[in-house]
């Protein structure tokens, strides 16, 4: 699915995020909840206005899962199987929400990497994150 060149791009960007999963994840979730408030329906346990501690904590979990995906690009299905089960049988996040998260992710990358988040980088990360979403929603039915 991803060419060698594309995987290199993913890893290159991930190296900049690794170690900063919590703040990246917090910003990701803040943008998601601010721009697309309906997504908060899936995070009722965080309350209507999640505070920074909650965003950092949950943000870290989300980004750590992305990190797992980065390390297992060759075998996403196996690596993310438990998470796919969780989304299918417990969370049941409507698949239409994943593109919203993907878009917010790209905005976070753009705002932190600026000139380095090139046209090619965006295309690669869009492909990678879309593939991730496919894996997370394919056990739904």
């Amino acid at each position: 699915m991803l060419s060698a060149q594309e995987r290199a791009h993913v890893t290159q960007v991930w190296d900049l995020i690794a170690g900063h999963e919590a703040p990246f994840g917090a910003e990701l979730l803040l943008r998601l909840f601010t721009v697309y408030p309906s997504t908060k329906a899936y995070f009722k346990h965080l309350g209507d206005r999640p505070d920074e501690v909650q965003l950092l904590s949950h943000g870290q979990r989300v980004l750590e899962a992305v990190g797992v995906a980065v390390r297992h690009m060759d075998n996403l299905r196996a690596a993310l199987s438990p998470l796919a089960e969780l989304h299918a049988h417990v969370l049941r996040v409507d698949p239409t929400n994943f593109p919203l998260l993907t878009q917010c992710f790209q905005v976070v990358l753009a705002s932190h990497l600026q000139g380095e988040f090139t046209v090619e980088m965006q295309a690669v990360w869009d492909k990678f994150l879309t593939g991730l979403a496919v894996v997370l929603t394919e056990k739904y039915r």
Binding site: E27, L30, R31, T34, V35, Q103, C104, Q106, V107, A110, S111, H112, L113, Q114, G115, F117, V119, E120, Q122, A123, D126
Partner: protein
Amino acid sequence: MSLTRAERTIVVSMWGKISTQADIVGTEALERLFSSYPQTKTYFPHFDLHAGSAQLRAHGSKVVAAVGDAVKSIDNVAGALSKLSELHAYVLRVDPVNFKLLSHCLLVTVASHFPADFTADAHAAWDKFLSIVSRVLTEKYR
């Protein structure tokens, strides 16, 4: 859907900064669109879409100028973009799904050029504003 006063203020004040790099922003947004979503190229068979092409730059300028027109008439986007709306309805017939893709690429471009300004609230305001622009441009289709 309409913008709150706070959202209007954000959009107008950020536009002040964006307009200083209008052509760069427009061109880059289109480059991002064509690279991430190659299917959008089908609307431009008559263009040379390689990075740096003169046509790409010219069209990027046009797109951003139209966004600017909408900002300047932020209380009456439908009026300001009426002709453009007819063009999209009767001539261009761009499938409405593509407006979300272009809007996204515009937001990514703005985020990368103006990171300090593009807070979560600014992101929300601009997403809403571009949704309004997109709606106006597709509302005469039928």
